[in-house]
Symmetry: C2
Subunit: 692 residues, 2 copies
């Protein structure tokens, strides 16, 4: 942890605005540093006291025996700015500013104040956490520079989970969730307004802590990608899983985020694509962020997703199958020998096929459970297990079930979860180190997340990772006319419709002869984006005379508009089995984004599209296509032959390469439709914007 | 509770196979009848004992001083059958059979045994609960005829919730869920194999208990609809909400249900439509079944779904807006005066627009909370409230927050929920009678369910309910040829394509002249369902000569097949803005079902369809259309005019009426496509099956 060492492991901490009252913002850090065994020096600073919470108190920073490595600035408003300046000049390494009323309140003046503080700090080699931060808490070193109320509840907080957040509450709420489950959190950091040290930069430093086995992130805004990219590299390198909860998924959420932090709103689908690209699991909500935590800490090596379910309730068997099917975990098909052996053990009215229903017979014979587990353990079809014990208690040997389950998990080395509603039953399993969830839905959902995340990380690691696509911006962007757009695409290897650009009636007629059959005639102007509405698209023109006439009409229309006349395109009529859309744009934060989906007129209505971040592989492109609702059509349905997905994948990869190539300065691409056929695909319409 | 009084409130209960051990199947009911204050007579029967659990024990049924109203049969297998026969002959009113090994194990022999027991019972006026039942538990009367382990955990179980289930575990697991939340369950009944008294029939009797305020159902199989229909009538009449968890949603779940109960698998989407039709809320899983229970018991009268959120965490504000948006609850737009008043109370860095972010300022000033609530209470835009307190504790006056919240809820009379993760915080609110959930997602989801269920019940009550559609079955079903299908539909007022059925080449040519323009020619035979594949559909035939030739070809094709030749259809070519599908079939359990959706060739790929049960209104039909993914197209997108949804709704209603009319004996209808246009819609293809 060399990086940001002064933030995570300072040798001395001063508190400007320290308070005797441990429930005040300036009192909490003093209390926590003592409570959680901080080994370094504690310097409370408060001009009106000589001692605070048993520590010698100083009148000012200047009175300290040394320059502290970290200073917690717990005074408000402009006093905080002055304190930061003092710290910088005194040689402090980290100033942690708790005061609010900066960029989160006023995106102009507030942000300007933040920038001023950061400038002064950097001039003196100091870094800033905050402002508007609840603080950092490293329970590994005892450096708890935080005023969180949550830590008042715990005597000790030790473990292998790191939680980082821009929000104060969200840096600690997961700690409160996990603690009752016996899961300790080692890091709980809130970075506030991220004026200097961002949650991403801090996360990289935390990811280097070898004691961290799982990292959780709460993000309200992602203003830049570079730290998260580096974080992903560091984490994948050491197989550290990261789960991120990014709020502001919906318009209402984005509006709320903007009004309370002034934060930039990220395009949510791009966030999805970005996190997936980097092997980071995106949690839908708080519960999703913490629910599977235990499973990540088990050290399992999952090899598949075929589930075996065992319960003493037939209803739970059915609901488990429903839940598994819903998340995409198939029920394992057990071998005939397994079935035979189970039949030898279980009563005739039990069910020996998976899910295995022990029935209420377990009340008469508690040994049934321990007897069948070894049989199931031997079946190679099982990748993961769920044991559902909705009701047990007097008459059942629950401690034996728990011991048997733990031994079974040990024997197989495969993921195993238990669903038990009754706290008395859950406790017995937990005491044996088995992961317990209240119902089969939570259990299966967590199991699926764990297995799927493992698969995702393996996929991202296996992918040869090129350098991340650079951000480019253009002072000015200009639409290419359609002929130039098509030419650009053709020069990058995309299959475009056969066409000619005619600059005279004679050329137009010659083009008709050359292309043959009925043609499409389109007016071409870099000033006109919506050609159809002006009558600049004519389909099925069937004779050279007609082409000539249309040429003349279109030239007149364009010139009457006062638009540049770049000629008239004569193109082959091209049908397709399905109209596909391929698009690309440059996200201001995440850079180039490629979109593919169901195209045609209603692309915005059906929104059956997926996103990919370059660089991506052919496999990535195929996975993206497989997510579409129209995916079954690619295989061919109702006796149709399959469509030529290979060339579509080629086209996607080429668009990705073109967007990744900053020298090409392509700002956006809109290809709709791309006609997909049994053999090949063809770009029919293209709008490309380039930067200058 | 006159109905099934002997099952729910017997004056005397005998237990055949009674046991001294309260953890044995035959010991539990004796124990529970004593423990939960049963006032009637308890008669343990066991030939080898004189006393059981302090009660005088009898050698046999014949030795009892009277015929008991209820007998619990706690002996196994064939002994149970003998006992049932004894009971019937002795004048017992209810035999509750706990033994398993009947229909759930063997759908043939096991079911036959059940039928035999029921026959004997009915001959003597006795009714049967079970077999394979865990038993009934009415905590209102203390009649606990159950061997559930769950009730060992509770000293008293009192409340206003009724839980009925076919499964034993699921009749009690919700009790275990609700108890720690301080919510009592009055009824907890497991009906097992439903050989005689079904869960539905019992539910009607329970719904008549005026103390029941909310009914929960777990259903694994719905073999007949009549009891659930009657239940819905009874419940709606007294405003009793019903929430049903029906498992076997997925193929894997259905397979599990079949292998452990041999139960008939219901078509899941029809179950959805049926429950919605009857105002019953369908829970997706166990948690969904119980999660909103508290809200139903508050006695609120919700008037809308606009939400106001208040939190001391900006992150929770954002996540609440995300959660609300996801479930479809908009954030209320507060009045400018409200905003002004809030600004006067809150610090400048707080957010006064909804969601309202109090920020960590609440730590410095606990009164902020109590000060703003009365202001918000006055705003008419608010329909429901959520207060998010992710972290509080020392330094916060949580008891005051809880009191203020309770007073606020009282003042507004509007639904209010709290999201609080920390148990210490949750307890304070619960102590004031406020409903608390661990996170905003659960809170908002429960609130939305409660409001939406209320809306659904109001809608179903407002709908003039005709008699439910009858089930009809046909020994034989026969496909009508297309001409007859179209004629039948036309006679019921559906707009069908202009067509003629020609029986000779001359008639075909005359039809071409009469219809005008290009035509479609289709071979017509009641033996041929897939015409296209045999070359029996020709589009765009453009001359009378061509029509004549096609006529001759098609006659030859049909005759060569050895199929009936019913003529050749000449129909107008009809385009449409969108191809719609309307279908109908008769579900063996639920009767007629009408389907509408996105039609055309890929109807099975996109599955963008919804179901309706006749009788349904035009409003119901509109709501069904609004659920489709293609719904935005109806309004007109990208400058298109709207489509004629009114005539589509007409067509749907007419199909509903036709299916509800049993005398018409229509078994199924498949109209694909129905061409929907700006003006009108037209049925182009029709396949109708009739019963005989």
């Amino acid at each position: 942890m060399s990086r940001l060492r002064f933030a995570l492991d300072p040798k001395s901490v001063a508190i400007i605005g320290a308070s005797e009252n441990p429930n005040k913002v300036g009192g909490r850090p003093v209390h926590y540093l003592q409570k959680f065994g901080f080994k370094g020096k504690i310097y409370p600073i408060n001009p009106s006291r000589t001692e605070i919470q048993g520590e010698k108190c100083y009148k000012s920073l200047a009175d300290l025996p040394e320059a502290p490595e970290m200073v917690i600035v717990a005074v408000a408003g402009d006093n905080a700015i002055g304190a930061v300046e003092d710290c910088a000049k005194a040689g402090v390494k980290i100033a942690l500013v708790m005061a609010s009323g900066f960029g989160e309140v006023d995106a102009i003046a507030g942000k300007a104040k933040e920038r001023r503080m950061v400038e002064i700090a950097h001039k003196h080699g100091m870094r800033i956490v905050g402002p508007n931060t609840q603080g950092l808490a490293n329970f590994g070193t005892g450096a708890i520079a935080s005023f969180s109320t949550m830590f008042m509840e715990f005597e000790r907080v030790e473990g292998h989970v790191a939680m980082l957040s821009q929000s104060g509450a969200l840096s600690t709420v997961p700690v409160g969730f996990l603690n009752p489950r016996g899961i300790g959190v080692r890091h709980s950091h809130a970075t506030g307004n991220d004026s200097d040290i961002t949650v991403g930069e801090l996360a990289i430093a935390v990811a280097e802590d070898p004691e961290v086995k799982l990292m959780l992130l709460y993000l309200e805004s992602i203003p830049e990608k570079k730290y998260l990219e580096e974080l992903s590299e560091v984490a994948l390198h050491r197989n550290l899983p990261i789960i991120a909860l990014k709020s502001g998924r919906t318009d209402a959420g984005k509006a709320a985020a903007q009004s309370h932090t002034g934060a930039l709103a990220n395009e949510d689908r791009v966030v999805d694509a970005f996190l997936e690209h980097h092997g980071i699991w995106r949690a839908p909500d708080m519960r999703g962020l913490v629910e599977a935590t235990e499973l990540y800490l088990k050290g399992w090596k999952p090899h598949g997703r075929r589930l075996v379910a065992i319960s003493n309730s037939g209803a739970v068997c059915v609901m488990t199958a429903d839940a598994a099917s819903t998340v995409g975990m198939p029920m394992a098909k057990l071998a005939p020998e397994t079935d035979k052996k189970l039949k030898g053990i279980l009563p005739s009215f039990a069910t020996t096929t998976n899910p295995i229903d022990l029935t209420a017979a377990l009340l008469s014979n508690s040994r049934l459970f321990g007897d069948i587990l070894p049989v199931i353990a031997e079946d190679p079809a099982a990748d993961a297990f769920i044991i559902g014990v909705p009701v047990a208690g007097p008459g059942y040997d629950v401690p034996a079930f728990a011991r048997d389950s733990a031994a079974f998990a040990q024997q197989t080395g495969k993921p195993l979860v238990v669903a038990a509603t009754q706290p008395s039953v859950a406790r017995e399993f937990q005491a044996q180190g088995v992961s317990v969830f209240p119902t089969e839905v939570e259990a299966v959902t967590a199991l699926n997340q764990y297995v799927s995340h493992h698969e995702l990380m393996a996929r991202v690691k296996a992918r040869k990772r090129g350098p991340s696509s650079s951000l480019i911006s253009a002072d000015k962007t200009e639409m290419l006319n359609e002929a130039d757009s098509l030419a650009l695409l053709a020069s990058h290897g995309l299959p475009v419709v056969p066409y000619r650009l005619a600059h005279s009636r004679a050329e137009a007629e010659a083009a008709f002869d050359a292309i043959g059959g009925k043609v499409v005639v389109k007016g071409c102007s870099a000033d006109i984006a919506h050609k159809s509405e002006l009558g600049l698209v004519k389909l099925g023109v069937a004779s050279r005379e007609a082409v000539g006439e249309v040429y003349a009409e279109m030239e007149e229309i364009i010139r009457k508009q006062g638009s540049r006349f770049d000629g008239v395109i004569i193109a082959a009529m091209t049908g397709g089995r399905r109209e596909i859309v391929i698009g690309a744009h440059r996200d201001p934060v995440f850079g180039p984004v490629v979109m593919v989906g169901d195209g045609g007129k209603y692309v915005e209505v059906f929104k059956d599209t997926t996103l990919l971040l370059p660089p991506f592989t052919r496999d990535d492109a195929k996975r993206a296509l497989a997510k579409l609702r129209i995916a079954p059509l690619f295989e061919g349905v109702r006796g149709e032959p399959p469509m030529d997905v290979d060339v579509l994948v080629d086209a996607m990869v080429r668009i990705g390469e073109l967007m990744a190539d900053t020298s090409a300065k392509v700002m956006s691409i809109d290809l709709n439709p791309v006609m997909l056929n049994t053999n090949g695909c063809v770009v029919v319409d293209a709008v490309v914007f380039k930067g200058e």
